[in-house]
Symmetry: C2
Subunit: 411 residues, 2 copies
């Protein structure tokens, strides 16, 4: 099945807006075993839109369009598509009422322009969405489909999931299933060595998706005519993968490492404290991004200066003088100090040289020490990251979370 995505919007061509919609759509489709064959971005002008629609309609089985369905004068997707199909816009009382109701729920009247959206192509089916009031447009003609969605992400998301994916599914011959295994603490090459020849998993398809912030995701997928068989084969492949790299898998699906860590802390009734230096609040910020993080996170210290390390964490000045702020001794003292001062069960510390300056031959940019202190004692690891300031800080933050997760699960 050939699928084309047309994104309409001057703001993307001008670079004012990063086109995250295309990536989101590509990812959702890909997860379900569908693949975008083409993505095209065209301007808000009739001629460019018509040309791209013609091209897409000629080469694709399914054409997805985003953008230009709103109420302002540069939203011309509705009339251009109708015109392309030699269709006409007709006033639809049901859509007018629906749009009216959407505003009435908030005690408002539709502003001028909004009512125009109830003028709809006569041969298309409207797609309604609770997240907005611009109806999507669905043409089904000559065994091909065109679906136009608003460019506002929340409105588009609902339509893609509720309408586009089921439509694609209905056109699929056979069944498709996938499993996502999220790993931390091992690189892509290490995992691929452990897993071995991916062809041995045939007919299951294996993919590695590495991310600087979230570790390597291992994705297994399979298509087939017999759903039961597809499920069983996939299950077996998953088991075989788990046998080989199970210790690195922290979640399946969309769960993130921060959630796993918070669940473990809550489950074990453990309170957490953090002492960050070079990461400067990044580890804490990632944990706080999860709703309910206050159940486990007691406090965090960003002890950037030596003075703060001494005063806030109670580190012996001798340790800093003898070993420097970036050292295993300081990392250990930071974690232990944080644990003691915050009176918590477990504490994590990070100290390092993020760069671009501050490195020496002995202690180069990218050198990071991470320590964890709990009732069993304190462990510390040394890392040498090789990126710029931003990458070094992100890698250090991710690694601190990985170490914390490993400590908690092995507890």
């Amino acid at each position: 099945m050939k699928i084309e995505l047309i994104t309409i919007g001057d703001e993307i061509l001008l670079g004012h807006t990063l086109d995250t919609n295309s990536n989101w759509i590509a990812s959702r489709l890909s997860e379900c075993g569908f693949h975008l064959r083409w993505i095209s971005v065209v301007a808000d002008n009739v001629s460019d839109m018509r040309h791209q629609l013609r091209r897409a309609w000629n080469r694709a089985d399914v054409v997805l369009v985003t953008g230009g369905l709103g109420p302002t004068h540069d939203d011309i997707t509705r009339p251009v598509i109708a015109d392309f199909f030699k269709d006409e816009l007709i006033a639809r009382a049901d859509l007018a009422e629906w749009i009216h109701d959407r505003f009435a729920q908030r005690g408002l009247k539709p502003p001028p322009g909004y009512e125009l959206m109830s003028e709809f192509p006569s041969r298309a089916v409207p797609i309604l969405n609770e997240h907005g009031c611009a109806p999507g447009i669905h043409y089904s003609l000559d065994d091909r489909e065109l679906i136009a969605m608003p460019g506002v992400p929340t409105e588009m998301h609902g339509m893609l999931i509720e309408t586009v994916l089921p439509l694609l599914e209905s056109r699929r011959e056979g069944h498709y299933r996938f499993t996502v295994l999220k790993t931390a603490g091992a690189g892509e090459s290490f995992l691929s060595e452990k897993i071995g020849d991916p062809n041995a998993l045939e007919p299951v398809h294996l993919a590695y998706l590495p991310s600087i912030d979230h570790g390597v995701t291992v994705r297994l997928s399979l298509s087939g005519s017999d759903l039961q068989e597809v499920d069983n084969t996939l299950k077996k492949a998953e088991e075989s993968i788990r046998d080989r790299i199970g210790e690195f898998i922290y979640a399946t699906g969309s769960t993130i490492l921060e959630e796993v860590i918070l669940n473990l802390l809550v489950e074990k009734k453990m309170r957490l404290a953090l002492a960050e230096s070079c990461t400067g609040g990044l580890v804490t910020s990632r944990i706080v991004s999860v709703p309910g993080s206050s159940e486990a996170l007691e406090r965090a210290f960003v002890t950037y200066s030596n003075k703060s390390k001494i005063e806030v964490l109670g580190i012996d000045e001798e340790i800093l003088i003898d070993n420097g702020a970036v050292s295993s001794e300081t990392a250990v003292a930071m974690a232990e100090g944080a644990r003691q001062r915050a009176d918590v069960d477990i504490a994590v510390s990070v100290t390092g040289i993020a760069g671009p300056t501050g490195g020496t031959d002995e202690k180069p940019v990218g050198l990071v020490y991470i320590a964890i202190a709990d009732k069993r004692g304190t462990s510390v690891n040394r890392f040498r990251f090789g990126g710029g300031r931003d990458a070094n800080r992100r890698r250090a933050a991710h690694t601190a979370l990985v170490m914390l997760w490993q400590r908690l699960k092995d507890d």
Copy 2:
């Protein structure tokens, strides 16, 4: 001048990679007064690439291509482009030597595959780049240009700036100049009311670019045949804008608010401490993202629990009991406590309800208090943000930086 960008890469169509290159190119071009007319993403296959090249070459004056220039078997941009122009690849000793030198500098030999990159289209000009070893390709034919660049961002960035922009400039009739004024502390509608009718600035073009993390950027641009006149007219327009909204402008060009704040702190020899609750390290992390932040940032506290607010910041328990953790009284006590405990000149505190849970009728999700304490006393502001957890935290962090900047510049 019609410019088309073709991005080559399965990883974008599969949703594995967010296409930030297109946005980066669109932004740089746009800043210089050039506009992308089309963006197309095609797969790493000969037929799709040929089709898109033909289409682009027929409709555009300048065709930019990214991706597929590397040394692996799926990097087929070089032979496909040569074939498209009915050209042939020839072995170029100079390129082989250049590639060899690139590796020799690091004491390495080029791995297999890399030497193949010295086979280059006979009628094209190579574009060399110090950030990588894949030569870019430049065809100039029939008053049209095609430039193919690697997909690796750092390699592409250099080629765009050093080769593509000057080439576009050489094709431009007349001159183009722009000025970027970065504002904080005022919304787009407020600024546009202050500035008034944009037509009054004609022929200068005015645009507002709002960002949740960086405030509203006001952009002035102008084209013309006489460079002196363009510069003068733009200068006058900038002065007129500064007369109206000068107090909100924190920088011109690419400088970020964090840098402005750090420069002010260093200039005034002031040390900074932070006490964050709902933002959970986000303000600190933004400040630490600037190299050299240790010159002014003394330390930060993420005092998530009430206990930590009392112990770490020395807040009177009565204040928390009487007013709650999210209150102007607590924000003030946090800022004053941070300033005193860290023994610094100025301290900023943030406390609020990021959501999605934890809100009440009296204290709804999105309620945030931000306080600043310095030698002149303590000020506190109340905000009501209306987004999700992530947006609320980002808005609160940005607003804290805005308040800090305002306090420092008025000092």
